[in-house]
């Protein structure tokens, strides 16, 4: 459920609270009404034409490291 995708903000129109986001090479207009402090180059999660949340680069990298570490130990480090 809830097909939501990560996309990069490439332009913001403060007057209408809308942004142009890029998913790979495809651009789309979305509303920023549900988030605060959006900046160009931020990555956001988009769903039905709205940005829902920002994506944390740091947490993403941590998660990818967890995948790789799963192979190394039997104990999880939380």
């Amino acid at each position: 459920m809830c097909l939501a995708l990560p996309a990069k903000i490439i332009a913001i129109d403060a007057a209408t609270d809308m942004a142009t986001v890029a998913l790979g090479e495809v651009n789309k207009e979305v509303s920023l009404a549900l988030i605060d402090d959006a900046q160009v180059d931020d990555f956001v999660l988009i769903h039905v034409g709205y940005a829902l949340n920002k994506i944390s680069q740091e947490e993403a990298e941590k998660t990818l490291r967890l995948f790789a570490e799963a192979g190394l130990s039997g104990e999880m480090t939380r």
Partner: protein
């Protein structure tokens, strides 16, 4: 595509598969319900079940707002078009869902009804502005992910004084549904519900926060891991559930930390609270009446509530005879247990919502998995507890 491709890497899949195989205790079964239809879709589309050992099984939950919407509500939407002549704006997912008499919004459209597919509530508002002489109704469906966009549209319509726009609200709530599944009494002919842990919904959780599931984990003693949408997320989250079960823990953990926080999106929650309130009960397909599980529009926005603007008779319709969607939605029957599956019911000719929505258990199994034996595809089998 950033934040997508990295989470689909095959070599990491193999790493995680090896870890799961090592850590899953071969003396027991692990039955993990993925609540969210998006996870069902990912599991089937990437063949994640193939990478799991035999004692780790996914049980497909109801997490598809299309699947759980009762037929009567679609009948009401059709009535808005046919009786009241509105322009009905709907997301694509709803177009083929069968209502009573095998009708659907797509068929109504083919017969001349003004049904228009939109991608966003913003599109619906635009249609209202462009057609001042017509009534425009937005058919609002979805869990908590999809609700804030409807709230924004209602507030915008109010602020603009749009006279010809209203919303037919069918938004439903996830934790309530999870509780209802766990509380539902066993019906005649069903296996006992046996779920060891949950993969929590990805995007609902970005809105409501991971805290929202803590009461559930505590009350029922089941681990809940909020899982991201990509196949590696699903596998890592399964591993985290397995670890919790091995260690006798039942906590809420957040694998999808790159977008989910403990408190969720406060701004979105606030917008929703301004516009919507709880319905005392709401009928869910497969679960019957569930308390505090759905939203309606607040009195302050009553002028934008389609159920108040139009006479919308409460239609209670029953499922097609023999359709096992109610049991399948709760994970206590498999698609192959339904006599209609593959005989009269198929994606071309869906009898119930589990087959229409590409995230329904029946559609997913049919489209991606029916070359397997049924037991391999998420069976609910009693094993060593």
């Amino acid at each position: 595509m950033k934040y997508i491709d990295e989470f689909r890497q095959r070599d990491l899949a193999e790493t995680l598969a090896a870890a799961i195989d090592r850590e899953a205790d071969h003396r027991r079964h692990y039955r993990i319900m993925e609540f969210c239809g998006g996870h069902t879709h990912a599991i089937f589309r990437y063949g994640v079940q193939d990478l799991m050992p035999a004692n780790v099984r996914f049980i497909h939950g109801p997490g598809c707002p299309v699947c759980v919407l009762p037929i009567g509500r679609i009948d009401s939407a059709i009535a808005l078009v046919e009786v009241h002549g509105v322009i009905l704006c709907t997301y694509g997912d709803m177009l083929r869902v069968p209502a009573s008499d095998r009708r659907s919004l797509l068929k109504v459209k083919a017969e001349g009804g003004d049904v228009r597919m939109v991608y966003s509530t913003q599109d619906a508002l635009k249609i209202a502005r462009d057609n001042p002489g017509r009534q425009v109704v937005f058919f609002a469906i979805g869990f908590e992910t999809t609700t804030p966009p409807t709230a924004v549209a209602l507030q915008q319509a109010q602020a603009e004084g749009l006279q010809n726009f209203s919303v037919f609200c069918n938004h439903v709530l996830t934790p309530a549904a999870m509780r209802a599944i766990l509380d539902a009494p066993q019906r005649a002919g069903e296996a006992a519900l046996a779920i060891d842990g949950f993969l929590g919904p990805s995007h609902v959780s970005t809105i409501i926060g991971s805290h929202a599931y803590a009461p559930l984990a505590r009350r029922y003693g089941k681990p809940v891991v909020i899982a991201g949408f990509e196949p590696l997320d699903v596998m890592q989250s399964a591993l985290m559930v397995i670890r919790q079960l091995n260690e006798g823990r039942c906590e809420v953990e957040n694998e999808y930390s790159r977008v989910v926080t403990a408190e969720g999106n406060r701004k979105a929650q606030a917008r929703v609270a301004e516009v919507f309130e709880l319905r005392p009960t709401f009928e869910w397909r497969g679960l019957g009446l569930v308390a505090d599980s759905a939203l309606r529009i607040r009195p302050e926005y009553a002028n934008l509530d389609a159920e108040q603007r139009f006479e919308v008779a409460a239609i209670s319709a029953s499922d097609v005879k023999g359709c096992e969607c109610p049991s399948i939605l709760r994970g206590v029957k498999r698609p192959v247990d339904c006599k209609l599956f593959g005989t009269v019911c198929s994606p071309e000719n869906p009898m119930g919502s589990c087959m229409v929505s590409s995230e329904g258990a029946c559609a997913a199994y049919w489209s991606y998995g029916r070359f397997r034996q049924p037991d391999d595809a998420g069976a609910v089998q009693e094993g060593v507890a």
